[in-house]
């Protein structure tokens, strides 16, 4: 399951990456994007495809801000795809909303910028899994190479079929909860339900208890 997912993820990323690259090429090179770098990236990409992804490094223009001092402070985001559970904390933490979120086709997509010129590092600080690190541009290893998007598999609610959390999030929650209370079969039925359906399932069970006591006749 996990393996399949990863493969799919890689597929998705490759596409994304290539598309992104193409676009950039068409647009013409950005000032700071040197020939060498481009080559490096393409090579890195190739390498990655062969090896399987370990770390992604994403690089791109940050809102086209290329001039002045910001440029010098530009840092590169390194995302640990193994660690990321897709919880969205980074996305809500980023003051500029640079980390994109979308859900489709049973996947939650997190779109990271390649680099960031803000000096807050809130995304890294907030990440519960410590999946985000910053490296300076100079220190960037050639192995780092960019994809923009992580796609994580979503769980569908057993009742309403709406996607409500990533598989990794739920796995993480299950682990944490088990430390408080051992979850036995039947004692985790709510894990497969979205929060709204959890409320509904308790409502139904509770109402069921009083219905037996209720003396209403009628074919409801």
């Amino acid at each position: 399951m996990m393996k399949e997912m990863k493969e799919e993820m890689q597929e998705g990323m490759k596409e994304e990456m290539q598309e992104g690259m193409k676009k950039e090429m068409q647009e013409g090179m950005k000032e700071e994007m040197q020939e060498g770098m481009k080559e490096e990236m393409q090579e890195g990409m190739k390498e990655e495809m062969q090896e399987g992804m370990k770390e992604e490094m994403i690089r791109g223009d940050t809102k086209g801000d290329t001039s002045g001092e910001n440029c010098n402070k530009k840092k590169v985001l390194a995302i640990d795809a193994e660690k990321c559970i897709g919880c969205r904390a980074c996305s809500s933490a980023c003051p500029e909303g640079l980390i994109g979120l979308s859900e489709e086709g049973g996947r939650r997509n997190l779109k990271f910028p390649e680099s960031c010129s803000l000096d807050c590092e809130r995304c890294a600080l907030t990440c519960p899994e410590e999946a985000i690190t910053f490296v300076s541009e100079e220190g960037r290893s050639p192995a780092f190479s960019g994809s923009r998007t992580l796609a994580l598999g979503l769980m569908a609610c057993r009742k309403c079929s709406a996607s409500f959390a990533t598989e990794r999030e739920l796995e993480r929650v299950r682990q944490a909860v088990s430390l408080k209370v051992p979850l036995r079969p039947g004692g985790d039925f709510w894990m497969e339900l979205c929060p709204a359906c959890r409320q509904e399932s308790f409502r139904e069970k509770e109402a069921g208890a009083i219905l037996r006591e209720r003396k209403i006749k009628g074919n409801l």
């Binding site: 036995r184 004692g187 985790d188 509770e206 069921g208 208890a209 009083i210 037996r212």
Partner: protein, 171 residues
């Protein structure tokens, strides 16, 4: 399964069952030592006094079939034992959400303050007859299968009829 059956007309409200229950569920199982124990022993049977009728009624877990408390328990702390058909509570699974207490139609799920978990009747595992039944001086509590209990009630009713008494009155 055998259950604690109640004959409320016989209850005189002495609360011996409550004390026996608490003692049975104490560490020491002795009345004098139990008083000082921590966590303090909790009773699982309740004598309800009805002032309007100056009557007392013992209320205890009915170990319902398809018990609401087991359906709502989110962690499976409350469950029905397949063989004995008892509704049992595992404190290590209890998160203290008290949903069981809300849905219990008898109000017999209590709270162990120190451990912050639910407590309910377990029919005294290891005893042949639950402590409350043994302690009841008027036999208002009977430990019996439902069908046997009906037999007891029938015999009683026949006796009352023979003596010209009202069906609901105490013998």
């Amino acid at each position: 399964m055998k259950e604690v059956m109640v004959r409320p007309e016989r209850c005189m409200g002495c609360r011996s069952c409550e004390i026996a229950c608490a003692v049975e569920h104490s560490e020491s199982k002795s009345l004098f030592a139990a008083v000082g124990e921590s966590p303090s022993p909790r009773k699982r049977i309740y004598i309800e006094y009805i002032p309007e009728h100056a009557a007392s009624v013992p209320v205890t877990c009915r170990h319902c079939e398809d018990a609401p408390c087991t359906t709502v328990c989110p962690t499976g702390a409350l469950s029905r034992e397949e063989i004995s058909r008892k509704v049992v509570h595992s404190p290590e699974l209890c998160i203290g959400c008290w949903t069981c207490s809300m849905v219990c139609n008898y109000g017999v799920i209590g709270r162990q303050k120190e451990a912050r978990v639910a407590v309910k009747c377990d029919l005294c595992p290891g005893r042949e007859v639950p402590a409350c039944v043994e302690a009841c001086p008027t036999n208002a509590l009977v430990y019996a299968e439902v069908k046997d209990f009906s037999g007891i009630k029938r015999a009683e009713a026949a006796l009352k009829l023979a003596r010209g008494m009202k069906p609901g009155s105490a013998l």
